[in-house]
Amino acid sequence: MVTGLINANPIVYERKERRVRSTPSAADVDEYAVEPIDQLEVFDHIRDIKDPEHPHSLEELKVITEDAIEVDDKQSHVRVMFTPTVEHCSMATVIGLCLRVKLMRSLPSRYKVDVKVAPGTHATEAAVNKQLNDKERVAAALENPNLVEMVEQCLAPTFE
């Protein structure tokens, strides 16, 4: 595996205040109505994923932000752009895999998910994007016990 950290001293940002999702105040609102999935909900699913090499969350490292998530609930489409902490980050595919697995487990199966590196933020952007969006490669990676263990560690909840 990697000897030494790819990015030994990442900048750690403040976590955002958890917003309470706004609920309509009208008394006659239909509580059984389908509530569309929005940007914040998707962000909530992935903000606490841990970085593969630091005890910080992807939110704290600004690898993902709410603005980098696009949701089209009608078309059942989610696009997540993530920003690796350094241009040559060899962990980019692992981070992408974590995002994909978390969304696969959290969103309804009708959803189509695209996970991409933010334009211009990675040296091998096209190659990373191609691999992360080839579902056969993703399926094969998720049958690899070492990779799965790594992903599970990143997805494991942190108790503070």
Partner: protein, 352 residues
């Protein structure tokens, strides 16, 4: 295409086969079943590491076998030998397996080992004397079928620079086609003098080929046209003067004929050409599309036909469509397989 295809058509779902506990990657119709009183038979393979064999029974279909004790990872593709007695399966466990259908049972009679990692596709040549496999290890292997269920690797073809997604033999010539994550299709032939196989043509972006992963390819029944499909959201039709090849008059290169674009919104995983000329495509947009040759209004002259959309089936499945396969026996019968774990059988019918 006959007049029967004019007017309103629908793709009617006539069966839904459930049993796999994970995505279904691939399906294959048994080429000798489904006619002369022999009930139709279909094999399917899945991320659940199993292969299932389904058989028509009156108006229903039964699962007659579950092959679950051989492969230790996803079974990515399956193919019946031309005689319909052997089933070949390719798995992410780096092996391929050969199953013999005898007395109602399926026994694993051989395992093909050698690839470094995931085997993604397996294909029999027209006579059933050769098999081809391909892998993420970038290589394509050709195996000779010997007596007593022995399989000997006769060639390891290096040429692709990435993951090879599919191998497919020409419908009657011993010419092998492979398509890849490197965006190209390669054509391989045997050199008669040296007995060795080599790449005679690469269809890439520079000769009107695809700009992203090529997932699958299929031939028309005459063997002179081929369709390829890709992550670039297009399908492409290619043509070759195959009669030339048949008489050994040198190699007739494949040329780009036309591109079907704007019909699928996400990766096209599968294309299949029916015996009577209908191209089906299945994609990650959950849809199935059917295309036929456009015989009216040929703006480019009679020598360059184009293809037109015949039918679109939105939401054919609840999730990605991974494989579409026409029955070789009963015309206008189509099977599809999906990430939703289901296999569907469709009948293309006129709406009266």
């Amino acid at each position: 295409m006959g007049e029967a295809l004019e007017g309103n058509l629908e793709l009617k779902e006539i069966q839904r086969l459930e049993g796999h506990s994970d995505r279904v990657w691939s399906i294959a119709w048994n080429p000798v079943a489904g006619a002369s009183g022999v009930p139709a038979m279909l094999a399917s393979c899945s991320g659940d590491k199993t292969v299932r064999v389904w058989r028509e029974s009156g108006r229903d279909w039964d699962c007659v076998a579950v092959l679950d004790e051989q492969h230790t990872r996803t079974v990515r593709s399956c193919a019946w030998s031309p005689c319909g007695k052997l089933l070949a399966t390719a798995s992410f466990d780096a092996t391929a397996a050969i199953w013999e259908h005898a007395g109602g049972d399926f026994d694993c009679v051989s395992t093909l080992e050698g690839h470094e990692n995931e085997v993604k596709s397996i294909s029999w040549n027209a006579s059933g004397s050769l098999l081809a496999t391909c892998s993420r290890d970038k290589s394509v292997w050709i195996w000779e079928v010997l007596p007593g269920n022995e399989f000997e690797c006769v060639s390891v073809l290096q040429g692709h620079t990435q993951d090879v997604k599919m191998v497919q033999w020409h419908p009657y010539l011993d010419i092998l086609f492979s398509c890849s994550y490197d965006n190209t299709v390669k054509v391989w032939v045997e050199d008669i003098d040296s007995d060795d196989w080599h790449c005679v043509q690469t269809l890439g972006e520079s000769n009107n080929g695809h700009s992203s992963t090529v997932w699958a390819l299929s031939f028309n029944s005459a063997g002179d046209e081929m369709v390829t499909c890709s992550d670039d959201l297009t399908s492409k039709i290619w043509r070759s003067e195959s009669q030339k090849q048949q008489v050994g008059d040198g190699y007739a290169p494949w040329k780009h004929l036309c591109t079907l674009t704007g019909y699928h919104d996400r990766t096209i995983f599968s294309v299949h050409w029916s015996r009577d000329g209908i191209i089906a495509s299945g994609a990650a947009d959950d849809a199935i599309r059917l295309f036929v040759e456009n015989k009216d209004g040929q703006v480019d002259g009679p020598s360059s036909p184009s293809y037109k959309l015949l039918l679109k089936k939105e939401k054919a499945h609840d999730m990605d469509v991974n494989s579409v396969q026409w029955s070789s026996k009963e015309t206008r019968l189509l099977a599809s397989a999906s990430d939703d774990g289901a296999i569907k059988i469709w009948k293309l019918e006129s709406i009266s």
